[in-house]
Symmetry: C2
Subunit: 217 residues, 2 copies
Amino acid sequence: MSRFTLDCFLESGNAYKAALMLELSGADWEARRVAFFTGQTRSPEFREMNIMGEVPVLTDHRPGGDLVLSQSGAILDYLAGVLGQFGATDESERSEILRWLLWDNHKLTSYTATYRFMNHFQNKTDDPVTQFFHARAVGAWKVLDAHLASRDFVVADRPTIADLSLCGYLFWPGQIGMDPDAYPNIQAWLGRIAALPRYKRPEDLMPSGMDPATATA
Amino acid sequence: MSRFTLDCFLESGNAYKAALMLELSGADWEARRVAFFTGQTRSPEFREMNIMGEVPVLTDHRPGGDLVLSQSGAILDYLAGVLGQFGATDESERSEILRWLLWDNHKLTSYTATYRFMNHFQNKTDDPVTQFFHARAVGAWKVLDAHLASRDFVVADRPTIADLSLCGYLFWPGQIGMDPDAYPNIQAWLGRIAALPRYKRPEDLMPSGMDPATATA
């Protein structure tokens, strides 16, 4: 058995954040498919493991007993500690990393992922709710693009878990309704992430959460 | 000068999270008013201090030089470290606290605060966007209520910064459209927080962010 099991599916950018961290760090891990599109995360069995009803969920099969953890940001922070990569080198960096992890969850991913779901998976592109989320996402992308104008990575002069969190949904510009040319600093930064050793795209790291019959229809 | 300055306004539940932490910990702090409702957080001067354009912003006037930090969750984590209160006692608690801080930002506060803004401050109660956020907020409240069914506080047998984060908007049931009776475990938990020594409500900790002419109209 691998050291780490990640409950995930490739369509989830939040799961991708954790999967990318595991892969870039060279960890011994395996993906366990969650059938999101047929409701598995809302099942009583899944809620038993994670009351929040969400992927990703990381299990660390430690010698002292399994640790089970959800929330991509908490997983990234945990993995940075046990794998010794992409973490902070001092307290000041630690606070800045946490600051950007929280902002990602509150503002960037929250709006971007909901827009993507309604636009790409539900085909509700013209719905006023969908458009509201897109406008909020655009506001967040502008902040990130401005922040990256004078730096290669979000917090330090090297990639940290803040970068791995923030990029989770941004490699799908079409699905999230982003015009790449409007965010040149984000594009350059995504290029630097994609150039990291062992980098892989979501579809090369995780199984689909769609019902096979639907997915191939 | 006080040790800590908090840029804030009483109508912000995110600012309240930090103000409550400072007050419950007996810190030497002062509130600095941000005129949110006339656009101060979107001004170039404010963005210079916090590119995210948001309150709260904490300044710690340390002997070695000021530390400036935004994002309520990052501020709570920082203050738990320097004040030695409401923090984790081991790595397992630390991960759980971070997990709930992130979930609060991504799911509970994100939806609750946006609903409250549109419902209470913009009078857009019947707007489909407003109703969408309310439905998402209700989903989050149900998760929190279920989690609190068997425990006094969110992570440990004592209050931590996870509790101080999650409660930020929940003392305004009318404004957030919450029927208190539907969430008995949340109500009992809020009662335990309100019973803590030095507890104060937002209006007793921070100045209003409204234009005085508007606020008294």
